[in-house]
């Protein structure tokens, strides 16, 4: 029995000595002591020494959450020759000292938690984990900068990677950007080489215009169904000449890549540098699909790549690890009607602004008003549109990137058009990042951007211009700015597809539909579900450098699994008592993994040899949820490490 102080974290509200002394009176306890930091090297050495010196058959560590250091102490026990599953943790930090202030109350509870752990340990038996193989291939879901970076890093280490991207090209949101902060280099210039690298890498396979339909299995052995949507083009034959696009008469579809600011054809590639450079037929727009007539593209295609009969194809593949890199969408500001987005054509979003400033954009890089095509004289930027709001009014978090990209936009406008007045309405300017505040100061000092502290209440159309009605909180006054263009810095929002994907992966999601990390500080790129890793904005708002850093980190964690030949499984799995099993197959029905099968077995029932139909567990597949144990009407099924008797003992100890 070992009690940790955790400095003053535990010792502050729990009287360590009382816990140690109380533990000595518990059945089976032969040795009890305490230490300031049990998880430190000294503490672990003490654990090993105690086991050896007192020939302990099990240890209870009263310390922080088992989610934190259970593995640490199991390893220490194993080093001393004890079965690592003869270790129990009493969580007297997160569940006790940190949530109670009164020392007497805290101590009393710590004693009870310690007792419950001892009661459980007394019923523990040594457990031996099974092993399972690792499929040496990774799946990256999402082909933006995050997914591309993760895939390149894994592929460069010598493992196969597949990227599944739902749109017809990889590149993601970054491909839509004009310039990037804080260096102002052009997004395409730094992204497109990476896109090409990914496409040409012999270890990377791209599945664009594809989605993940189904995921099953577990770490090391996932099997995934990928739906490759019908492009209506035979990618192998297509030479990317573009004649089909040229001839297509249906030109009224909104270009997704240009945020609807320009039109595209029914057969299209999203943008010139798209990877792969293979067009897609938009069946909702194509005249052949709508009316049965046309087929011009088919006629002009020399390699005969057009195939109107093409169907969605399901590809089944197996993977050792899966990396989510689903990215984000900017929130639609339409619900904030006071800004008039959707009603007033000169009110646009930041991403639309990127397209308007881009040389390859709908205006060829000329910043023009949407209403009349004239050059604006005054532009207003509004920050925090949909961010930092109550949950029913928007997103409760800070979207993190808007302050910086708004400063970038303001700077780019003033750089290109020094005669345009630029104002920015802000609540706070948040610039934590290398060279970030310097960047923002440049916008103010060098480029003369007018920053106004206060939010905007309404945008009204007045005599052909936009009257922006805001607050200037420093002056404590209402302020009216006449503008020709208003740019809304809209919140970062998780992709709508993120939550259904999270459910498929059994990865937990937070209330904002971002993927939850396993530990906010220490395991930031791992999902709590083994073998699932997180790359980029799907885990929370991030800028490009952070996304790339996290993408690399996710790759390293994934490689940690791919480089192993065998994975040590979890020994806490279900197992039937064959003598009690009555063959009803209730457990088989509830098992979410199909780990239970029934077989005829010869049973020695107290000397009678009979053949019975009994449950069998596939140890490599069982994940240890325990659904079968409670379902079993005869009490034959039990869960190792969490047996009925162990849990009952804990209940008894708590209620004593």
């Amino acid at each position: 029995m070992l009690v940790c102080w955790c400095g003053s974290n535990i010792a502050g509200t729990v009287d360590i000595n009382t816990v140690v002394e109380a533990s000595k009176r518990e059945p089976g306890v032969v040795y009890a002591t305490d230490y300031q930091y049990m998880c430190a090297e000294g503490g672990q050495a003490m654990v090993r020494r105690a086991i050896e010196e007192h020939s302990l058959t099990g240890i209870v560590v009263s310390a922080c959450s088992p989610r934190m250091h259970e593995t640490t102490f199991r390893k220490a026990a194993a080093a001393a020759g004890l079965n690592p599953y003869m270790v129990e943790i009493a969580n007297i930090r997160e569940h006790c000292s940190w949530v109670h202030k009164d020392k007497e109350v805290g101590t009393e509870k710590a004693v009870v938690l310690m007792r419950a752990a001892i009661a459980k340990l007394n019923l523990n038996t040594p457990l031996f984990p099974g092993e399972s193989g690792v499929i040496k291939r990774a799946l990256v879901i999402g082909g933006g900068i995050a997914g591309i970076q993760t895939a390149l890093d894994i592929a460069d280490a010598g493992y196969e990677v597949d990227i599944v991207e739902k749109s017809p090209t990889i590149g993601g949101t970054m491909a839509q950007l004009d310039k990037t902060f804080p260096t102002l280099d052009c997004a395409a210039c730094i992204l497109t080489p990476k896109m090409v690298d990914a496409a040409q890498h012999d270890k990377i396979t791209l599945y664009t215009y594809s989605e993940v339909d189904e995921v099953s299995g577990f770490v090391g052995n996932f099997s995934v169904k990928i739906r490759q949507k019908a492009r209506c083009i035979n990618s192998k034959l297509c030479n990317g000449c573009g004649d089909c696009i040229e001839k297509c008469p249906a030109k009224k579809a909104k270009s997704e890549f240009d945020e609807g600011l320009a039109n595209r054809k029914a057969i299209y590639v999203p943008f010139a540098q798209a990877v792969p450079n293979v067009p897609v037929i938009d069946q909702t727009q194509c005249l052949k699909f709508k009316t049965g007539k046309c087929g011009l593209c088919e006629k002009v295609c020399l390699p005969k790549a057009i195939n109107f009969e093409q169907q969605d194809e399901i590809i089944e593949k197996e993977y050792g690890v899966i990396i989510a890199a689903t990215g984000f969408r900017p929130l639609s500001p339409e619900r904030y009607g006071e800004y008039g987005y959707g009603q007033l054509p000169d009110v646009i979003t930041s991403l639309e602004f990127e397209r308007l400033m881009n040389a390859a954009g709908p205006t060829g890089g000329a910043l023009l008003r949407r209403s009349n095509g004239e050059k604006p004289k005054s532009i207003v930027f509004i920050q925090c549109v949909g961010s930092r709001a109550e949950p029913d009014k928007g997103k409760s978090y800070c979207s993190k990137i808007c302050c910086m990209y708004t400063a970038k936009h303001a700077m780019l406008v003033r750089d290109k058009y020094p005669n345009i007045d630029v104002s920015v309405f802000y609540i706070d300017v948040r610039t934590p990042g290398k060279n970030f505040d310097e960047f923002y100061r440049r916008a103010v000092e060098q480029y003369g951007v007018n920053y106004i502290k206060g939010m905007v209440g309404k945008i009204a159309e007045e005599d052909g211009r936009l009257r922006v009605q805001g607050s200037d909180l420093i002056e404590d006054t209402q302020i009216f700015v006449d503008a020709d263009l208003v740019v809304l810095a809209t919140a970062v929002e998780a992709q709508a597809s993120a939550r259904p994907l999270g459910t498929m992966l059994t990865a937990s999601m937070d209330q904002n539909n971002f993927f939850s990390e396993s530990h906010a500080k220490l395991r930031p790129v791992e999902s709590p579900t083994a073998g699932i890793f997180l790359s980029g904005v799907c885990q929370g708002p991030k800028d490009i450098p952070e996304t790339v850093a996290q993408a690399g980190a996710a790759a390293v964690k994934a490689l940690g699994i791919l480089s192993k030949d065998k994975l040590i499984g979890n020994p806490c799995i279900a197992g039937p008592d064959e003598l009690l099993c009555n063959g009803c197959a209730s457990c088989e029905k509830v098992c979410p993994y199909g780990a239970i099968t029934y077989a005829d077995k010869e049973i020695n029932d107290h000397g009678h040899r009979t053949t019975r139909h009994v449950a069998e567990i596939n140890e490599a597949i069982c994940q240890g949820c325990g659904a079968c144990t409670v379902t079993c009407p005869s009490g034959a099924m039990d869960l190792k490490g969490f047996t009925n008797r162990q849990i009952m003992a804990e209940v008894d100890a708590i209620c004593r």
């Binding site: 930092r388 109550e390 009014k393 206060g454 905007v456 209440g457 607050s471 909180l473």
Partner: protein
Amino acid sequence: MLVDEKGMQEEVIRMSGTEPKKCMLCGKCSATCPPSMDMDVRPHRFVKNVKAGNIEALMESESLWKCLSCFACVERCPRGVEPASLVEAVRLLVIRQQGKNYLTADDIPELIASDEEIPQQLIVSAFRKYSK
């Protein structure tokens, strides 16, 4: 009669059913408010003062009689604060005191005489807002 400011602050929060601590001082209410510039204590500062417990100062404020109860601030606040409800609660603290009615029945005949077109609705609503 409420004497201490803490008690008055609690009373205002209870009556209005709105929590000024949620305010992040973005100023959107004051940006939105039509009579914003006619107020001595503009909506965001009104909220801030309730949060700080300066209720007596607010009871002296002209803003109490300028608020139109148009709920634009309520509708647009990103934090779910209701500045208009706080104004109404402080206004009620004032007019619920004896002799503190902002408008009395005696004022009415003269007002009506001044303009024949005044609809009943105006008199009733002003009376409801300004008197107890």
